[in-house]
């Protein structure tokens, strides 16, 4: 009963049947630092992670550029 979170090239196996917010916590990922997509659609953290789901996480942080982010 698992699902996958994918962030950049890293995969995190998490339990299904919980909210995305809990799954992110289980994987040690801050919800504020990612946008989650399932089958190309952006989803909120209260969505239930289903068995076999592959949830792609898009990192939101950019930086280092002082003037042109």
């Amino acid at each position: 009963m698992t699902a996958k979170l994918v962030l950049r090239n890293r995969e995190y196996e998490v339990k299904s049947g919980q909210t995305l917010r809990s799954a992110l916590k289980e994987a040690g990922i801050l919800p504020e630092s990612v946008i989650a997509t399932r089958q190309g659609e952006v989803i909120t953290e209260d969505e239930i992670v289903r068995e076999g789901d592959v949830i792609k996480l898009i990192a939101v942080i950019s930086g280092g550029a002082e003037e042109m982010p």
């Binding site: 280092g64 550029a65 003037e67």
Partner: protein
């Protein structure tokens, strides 16, 4: 979670605003809010010409998209930095920016740093011995100089950058830790024009970085996802991570931090320091204002690397 406007399934939740929206209404909300900020901070009008500094990243391309949708006269400026680092970083950023402009029929100016200074950014940093092994400070100096030069030479009224609230909060955090009053004094949504310096504005300064990522994704904007290879491990990213931990525990903390700062500044928190502000002098080479008489930092650097190049040949 339901969209507050239509009751359909929400695509994004913004706890700091106690607002969840579906894709359709989020894509309406972002330009509406941008328009509100442009007016609130008196950034520019529809009669003025705006030069948008675009890097190929999510924020600057989204900003250009929003200004175009809102009907502003917004052209783009891309500065080719010559950063490769095995991932063709600059080449790919430029390709995506050109594609974006072509798809919307927008005017894009391109400045090539190597053509202007003789070297791409990494070599310029190496040759000028600035930045202690990292090219970020040289990169910032070159971008500031070139953005201002193009805005001034081509007669633009205002220069717009894609800084979001996380960028602003991270800078504010760093400047507060160091009590860098001169920098705190100058931080804000608008930096007014001065003789030789274009007005600078940040129309996205009240959007979280997460919201801008969602906007780019939902709008289908293709942007460079890879971070600049030299930004890895930077202090600004570290500060953003710290602030995100705080935000996770206390939704709205980043927004309050930034807005309270703007309010305090407005009330005159740094008033005394304004009286000791330096007089600016025009650089004898490029004409741009500089704090000390003589060449500006950009021209000094270019002169130094040109001399080295001449000696080597």
């Amino acid at each position: 979670m339901k969209c507050r406007k239509c009751g359909e399934k929400a695509a994004i939740n913004m706890p700091q605003h106690r607002l969840a929206l579906c894709k359709e209404h989020f894509l309406e909300w972002v330009p509406e809010q941008t328009e509100r900020f442009i007016r609130k901070y008196r950034m520019f009008t529809r009669q003025e010409r705006v030069l948008v500094a675009v890097s190929g990243g999510k924020d600057s391309l989204s900003l250009w998209d929003i200004l175009w949708r809102l009907g502003y006269q917004a052209d783009g400026l891309y500065i080719a930095l010559g950063i490769d680092e095995g991932i063709s970083y600059s080449a790919e950023s430029q390709r995506l920016t050109e594609k974006f402009a072509a798809e919307r029929g927008l005017k894009l100016h391109i400045v090539d740093v190597e053509r202007e200074t003789g070297f791409p950014i990494p070599l310029l940093a190496q040759k000028s011995l600035r930045g202690q092994g990292k090219p970020c400070s040289v990169c910032g100096l070159v971008k500031r100089h070139e953005m201002n030069r193009i805005a001034r030479d081509l007669g633009y009224d205002v220069l717009a950058t894609g800084h979001n609230l996380d960028d602003e909060a991270a800078v504010l955090f760093g400047n507060t830790l160091n009590w860098a009053v001169e920098y705190l004094l100058r931080q804000g949504p608008v930096l007014p024009e001065e003789p030789g310096l274009a007005r600078k504005v940040k129309p996205l300064c009240r959007f979280y970085e997460r919201e801008m990522t969602a906007y780019a994704l939902m709008r289908g904007i293709e942007y460079i996802y890879e971070e600049c290879p030299f930004a890895v491990g930077s202090t600004s990213i570290y500060y953003k991570e710290l602030l995100n931990r705080l935000e996770n525990e206390r939704p709205g903390a980043k927004l309050t931090f930034y807005l309270s700062f703007l309010e305090a500044r407005e009330k005159g928190l740094f008033r005394e320091q304004t009286q000791v502000r330096q007089t600016l002098h025009p650089c004898p080479s490029c004409g741009q204002p500089t704090s000390a008489p003589g060449l500006c930092a950009f021209c000094r650097m270019v002169e130094k690397v040109s001399e080295k190049k001449a000696l080597a040949s």
